[in-house]
């Protein structure tokens, strides 16, 4: 099947929406309320496009393609309609991008820039809401909310908790927990998938607040270190510190994570981290337990001591008097080397990992 997209012939799949077809053709249609894993809602009206023969503009996220359809995604009419939508949103949005965590990574900011909206032309009252800092995971600032509904649909459609919903009408509409209680006291399980989906700075991980601008962070692809689902993640780093973790696209998780994968990384920087090798003090009594019986050593000293201890038993008693436990958290490469060390360098099958526990 073929359509004419901004004057170019493009092959499309039947059943695709205009937005999906444009995405695969590399044409970006602006959007606020669309998220790949959620059903399209058509709420934000930013994705309107012109379709030859159609009355008025149509929403690209909900309109399916048809054979021979002629589509303009950025005609002057379309651009005017988008400007109206953006103007309304910006008029009711705090323009404090200087110190917004989303600055540089904000769909509203990007589109306002693209369509030349400097400030809103409506000067009615602007929504004013207190920042909600009550849960330990993310900060909620509904003053910045554009009511795209991604968080609400994420919690309902994907997570199945429905911890939050729209409350109120018209100008006073807000996202809220039932009775406005803290998420701590709601059905929320702090997966943070809503935070990742939020296109603006309304939902922000606390670890990011005041820590890094979007353009200062490098994003490194990784895999969650917790359970066996193996969710793909992007680790956001500034100056050798993790700032936040987000879900990445993989067949394992399709950008979703749970609370551990997204918010469970601070152990990496914890003050308890061992930063130097330790060797038991010569005067430590046999079986004495605890930090006080250790002193710091160089790697050379520690490795020599470790090898000497293992070799003494291997050579003195026999290879089967040595055993090793590998780790179900270490990589494939490390597990492979570990068992190779026990089997080839020591000569025993006394190797296992704690899969069973």
């Amino acid at each position: 099947m073929e359509i004419l997209l901004n004057g170019t012939r493009v092959a499309v799949q039947p059943g695709q929406t205009i937005m999906q077809a444009a995405d695969s053709a590399g044409v970006h249609v602006p959007r606020l309320c669309n998220y790949p894993q959620l059903k399209p809602s058509g709420a934000c009206r930013l994705c309107v496009v012109q379709v030859k023969g159609a009355r008025g503009l149509v929403a690209a996220c909900t309109t399916p393609v048809a054979e021979g359809m002629e589509i303009e995604t950025d005609s002057p009419t379309v651009a005017d309609a988008r400007r109206d939508v953006l103007d309304l949103l910006v008029s009711n949005h705090p323009l404090d991008c200087f110190h917004c965590e989303a600055c540089g990574d904000c769909a509203l900011q990007d589109y306002a820039y693209q369509y030349g909206i400097k400030e809103g032309s409506y000067d009615g009252a602007r929504r004013q809401v207190e920042v909600d800092d009550r849960n330990p995971f993310f900060r909620i600032d509904y003053e910045k909310c554009v009511l795209c509904g991604i968080c609400v649909r994420m919690c309902d459609e994907v997570m199945g908790y429905g911890a939050i919903d729209f409350a109120g009408r018209g100008f006073t509409t807000l996202v809220s927990t039932p009775y406005g209680v803290s998420l701590d006291d709601s059905a929320c399980v702090f997966c943070g998938n809503c935070v990742q989906g939020c296109p603006v700075g309304a939902l922000v991980p606390k670890s990011q607040v005041g820590a890094a601008r979007a353009w200062e962070m490098k994003k490194v692809r990784s895999v969650c270190p917790y359970c066996g689902v193996g969710c793909a993640i992007d680790v956001h780093v500034k100056g050798n510190r993790i700032i936040k973790i987000e879900g990445a696209e993989s067949p394992a998780n399709h950008t979703m994570t749970c609370v551990k994968g997204r918010f469970g990384w601070e152990f990496v920087h914890h003050e308890d981290r061992l930063l130097k090798p330790l060797v038991r003090r010569a005067d430590a009594p046999r079986g004495a337990v605890g930090r006080e019986w250790f002193e710091e050593a160089t790697w050379d000293e520690a490795l020599a001591a470790a090898a000497a201890g293992i070799a003494r038993v291997r050579d003195g008693v026999g290879p089967d008097a040595v055993a090793g436990l590998s780790s179900a958290k270490a990589s494939n490469e490390e597990n492979y080397l570990f068992q190779k060390l026990l089997r080839a360098a020591v000569g025993t099958n006394n190797v296992d990992h704690c899969a069973r526990l």
């Binding site: 330990p136 199945g160 670890s207 490194v220 692809r221 990784s222 895999v223 917790y226 359970c227 066996g228 689902v229 193996g230 793909a232 050798n240 993790i242 696209e249 067949p251 394992a252 979703m256 749970c258 551990k260 469970g264 990384w265 601070e266 990496v268 914890h270 981290r273 061992l274 330790l278 060797v279 046999r286 079986g287 605890g290 490795l303 090898a307 040595v322 055993a323 436990l325 780790s327 179900a328 958290k329 270490a330 990589s331 494939n332 490469e333 490390e334 597990n335 492979y336 570990f338 068992q339 190779k340 026990l342 025993t348 006394n350 190797v351 296992d352 990992h353 704690c354 069973r356 526990l357």
Partner: protein, 528 residues
């Protein structure tokens, strides 16, 4: 898993057994929810009132330790009502007659009398599983951490073969692995009885091939000691030196007091870890390893998907990646390993492990590859056992139900069972050092049925002392409706109230997994 995570969403019936899916494998549970929204049946066999149980169309709440009986009752019903898949059984399996004989008398009523589950519910669940176009089984430690864990797994395989619910999309017998690379550790042969690629250590041909690849004369042919056997072997003086890479056995072993005693008996202990764990405190040498964020490599997830992770940080302090430490140590043991990088190690793995033959860093991309992937142009294998089983015909196992090793009695009247909570993980050495998680769920707790609790005059947060034949812990109680009047549950992440001071070390005879899910305890009100 025999099948892939995404297929769960397309199943018509999902049978979850011994898996607290929403808390232990939250992102896998999203597929379960998706299927249920589309109208799938959800059968949950679990003693605790967990979230998936509450969402289930059929919740079977057996006494801990009676999974096998419930499944046998289901299979007995499937046989007597002719809901089994004759074509599949005839063409794909063997051992059917002995299997059928083993179900003699294992009626739903018998299963009900053993497990406490209503016989009608057992029948309904059997029908929902057997008659659906696509039925899938998800299971976790609630099946395996029993002295009869192997029987549990074999019984699940029996059920899938009996109904032909395997080898097709949306079906299968699917273990949800607990730790992020349990699958990979096993694939790589970090096991006492198998070499990399699941070849037995007594397989002479496999040993010769590996010995040649590794440049040694021969490899040991006798199976070694399983992790769960180490404490006893150490106490017997057979094992004198231990090298631990990131395992905190002083907290995660059952009957942890026994393990701690064994650690003091060692002649030499090397611990390689991020933290000075409860276990590291016993060591002679502690080697500081760096976290996953400070190195690169691959993990293999529960659906056999090999995925790359990249280095995000420079190693903190003087810590080093585990692989570098192993290479250094090996050289000092007189066996230099010629491995310059994780990528080079993967090349060696591809050359020596048949299932990983086609795995190479440059092929992995964002989606990774699912093994078996034997050759460089193989696309990977999302579904196992499609045309035939790995061994040819699928073998039915005749299983006899055995009760748990330690059952409640007059002195220890409650069944004690352990598990995970959503916000913490394993020994807690990672999650309890992640501030938001620790803040949100700081404390240990034990769950108890409100009726039982109030009969003892307890309220939420009151301290109780839980005692087994091996130890005792004092912990605040949470009264959770539906827990079951004879059941006490505790998560095992908390060092100040370590559930594993109570648990039983008795092992499954085949898998050598300890019975962490069932022991007998008594409960008393403790003074604050």
């Amino acid at each position: 898993m025999t099948n892939s995570l995404d297929e769960i969403a397309d199943a018509n019936t999902i049978l979850i057994i011994g898996s607290n899916t929403t808390e232990s494998h939250p992102v896998a549970s999203l597929r379960v929810k998706e299927a249920v929204r589309r109208g799938a049946n959800l059968i949950v066999i679990d003693p605790r009132p967990i979230e998936v149980a509450e969402a289930a169309t059929h919740w079977l709440q057996p006494l801990p330790g009676t999974n096998v009986a419930v499944l046998q009752g289901m299979m007995n019903h499937i046989l007597t009502t002719d809901l089994w898949n004759m074509e599949f059984v005839d063409s794909r399996t063997e051992g059917f007659a002995e299997f059928v004989a083993s179900l003699d008398g294992r009626t739903p009523e018998w299963a009900a009398s053993v497990s406490g589950v209503d016989a009608g519910l057992i029948r309904a669940a059997a029908e929902a599983y057997a008659t659906a176009e696509r039925s899938t089984i998800l299971y976790a430690m609630g099946v395996t951490q029993h002295s009869t864990g192997t029987d549990g797994v074999l019984t699940l395989a029996n059920l899938a073969m009996l109904t032909g619910q395997i080898g097709r999309p949306g079906t299968g017998v699917n273990p949800l692995r607990g730790q992020n690379n349990v699958q990979g550790s096993s694939d790589m042969g970090a096991l006492y009885d198998t070499l990399p690629g699941y070849r037995k250590v007594n397989d002479a041909a496999a040993r010769t091939a590996l010995a040649q690849a590794w440049g040694v004369a021969d490899l040991p042919a006798q199976p070694g000691a399983a992790a769960s056997e180490l404490p006893d072997r150490i106490m017997a003086g057979e094992i004198r030196a231990l090298y631990l890479m990131g395992e905190n056995i002083a907290l995660t072993d059952p009957d942890a007091n026994h393990t701690r005693k064994a650690l003091t008996r060692l002649e030499f202990l090397v611990v390689q870890d991020l933290f000075l764990t409860e276990t590291a405190a016993f060591a002679d040498v502690i080697l500081p390893a760096c976290s996953w964020a400070e190195k690169e490599g691959t993990f293999t997830n529960t659906e056999r998907r090999v995925q790359r992770f990249y280095q995000a940080l420079e190693p903190l302090g003087e810590s080093r990646p585990d692989w570098q430490i192993i290479v250094e140590l090996s050289a000092r043991l007189g066996y230099p390993m010629p491995c310059a990088s994780p990528q080079a190690i993967m090349a060696e793995i591809a050359a020596t492990v048949p299932q990983y033959g086609g795995i190479a860093y440059e092929r992995l991309g964002e989606a990774g590859l699912q093994w078996p992937c034997p050759t460089p142009d193989h696309p990977g294998t999302p579904i196992l056992h499609r045309e035939k089983f790995a061994r040819g015909l699928g073998r039915f196992s005749a299983v006899t139900f055995r009760p748990s090793a330690e059952l409640p009695d007059a002195e220890f009247p409650f069944v004690f069972t352990t598990g995970r909570s959503l916000y913490h993980y394993h020994s807690g050495s990672m999650t309890r050092r992640a501030r938001p998680l620790a803040e949100h769920r700081p404390d240990a707790y034990a769950e108890m049925d409100p009726a039982t609790g109030s009969a003892m005059g307890l309220q939420d947060g009151d301290l109780i002392r839980v005692t087994s034949r091996r130890g005792e812990v004092t912990v605040p109680v949470r009264l959770v409706p539906g827990t079951g009047s004879k059941v006490i549950f505790m998560p095992f992440h908390f060092r100040e109230a370590s559930a594993n001071l109570l648990t039983n070390t008795v092992l499954d005879p085949v898998a050598r997994i300890p019975e962490l899910k069932v022991c007998a305890v008594r409960v008393e009100v403790a003074q604050a």
